[in-house]
């Protein structure tokens, strides 16, 4: 079954707590403490919303922003919530500087220490955004091509040498 939310944080207690809070409110959720495993499982079973901590141990060589970038490659149409100590708890999203927003690359931000009530509301908003946008394939396609599009002519050139294989693959899928 596809969970709605994925939580990625190297602190197991933090992950378990967030997952429990969301599940208690009928939001399906899974947690991961290893970023690479999280990314691999996301490939097979992507969620609509990902909550990710900014800081991971130096030994992992990865930050929350790196994780967001890699998950976006897999499923561009995902809502990302970054938990970050950069954000003062008195600073709301509207007053974040554009520079900080661009750097952090998430859709929404939650300051530490986490206010769980606030977190649940933010997750619900993110899920609503996905629901309203996913009714349109054009919106979703827009996310896919946001980093660059490919014209049909370019695709034909790309596929020229493998044309027979693709024809066969489509036709085989069509047969019963």
């Amino acid at each position: 079954m596809n969970e709605q939310v994925l939580v990625i944080d190297d602190e197991k207690d933090a992950v378990d707590n967030i997952v429990l809070q969301l599940q208690m409110r009928d939001i399906t959720c899974r947690g991961e403490i290893d970023p690479e495993e999280a990314i691999e499982r996301f490939r097979a079973n992507p969620t609509d919303v990902v909550i990710v901590d900014y800081v991971f141990p130096l030994t992992t060589g990865i930050t929350g922003i790196d994780i967001i970038a890699r998950l976006k490659e897999i499923k561009p149409f995902t809502q990302f919530i970054l938990i970050s100590g950069f954000i003062d708890k008195d600073l709301d999203e509207e007053t974040l500087t554009e520079e900080l927003k661009n750097k952090l690359k998430a859709n929404r931000y939650i300051p530490k220490p986490i206010d769980l009530h606030n977190l649940v509301n933010i997750v619900r908003e993110a899920l609503q955004d996905i629901d309203s946008q996913s009714s349109s394939w054009k919106s979703m396609a827009g996310e896919y091509v946001s980093k660059g599009s490919v014209s049909a002519e370019q695709a034909r050139d790309l596929n020229e040498k493998i044309k027979e294989h693709l024809v066969k693959a489509v036709d085989e899928d069509h047969e019963e």
Partner: protein, 158 residues
């Protein structure tokens, strides 16, 4: 405004060079036309390209570029995607009518394409021209009287 529905076996000629390519491009690039397809088509195209990638014939970048080509057509309104709301339920009835009562060989995927095309026709209140490179499917659409006047078909020979 002419309304078309294109299935995967015809849409592939948009991204491959072949006999039907000119016809497919003429129809899809004409902004006075509306060309619909099903969500199923997105899945079928991805699966076909994935199959070729799995065999090691193309790399992952080529897989993604093929996906992007389809998404680019969607973003540019060259292809309008119809959701498959309750399509499976309706396709089952179609299979019973066409496959059992009419004794015509209608495949699972094709039944879903037909019900989606019928959905488009009833929504836009116009006859939809079904583009396919499957001769059997084109004939089924022409021969089954209940599809008239909602659907007509054009066979694009590969």
């Amino acid at each position: 405004m002419p309304i078309y529905y294109i299935d995967t076996c015809s849409l592939k000629w948009r991204y491959l060079n072949g006999s039907p390519t000119t016809d497919v491009n003429t129809i899809m690039d004409d902004l006075s036309n509306k060309v619909f397809t099903s969500e199923l088509t997105i899945l079928e195209w991805s699966n076909a390209v994935a199959s070729v990638c799995r065999q090691g014939i193309i790399d992952y970048a080529t897989f993604k570029n093929n996906e992007l080509a389809l998404m680019t057509d969607i973003v540019n309104d060259r292809l309008l995607i119809t959701p498959m709301t309750r399509s499976i339920e309706r396709a089952r009835y179609l299979i019973e009518y066409v496959g059992v009562k009419k004794k015509l060989a209608l495949r699972t995927g094709d039944s879903l394409h037909i019900v989606t095309a019928l959905d488009v026709a009833t929504t836009v209140h116009e006859t939809v021209t079904f583009l396919t490179s499957d001769k059997t499917l084109a004939k089924i659409i022409q021969d089954v009287d209940t599809f008239t006047p909602l659907l007509t078909s054009i066979y694009l020979a590969p």
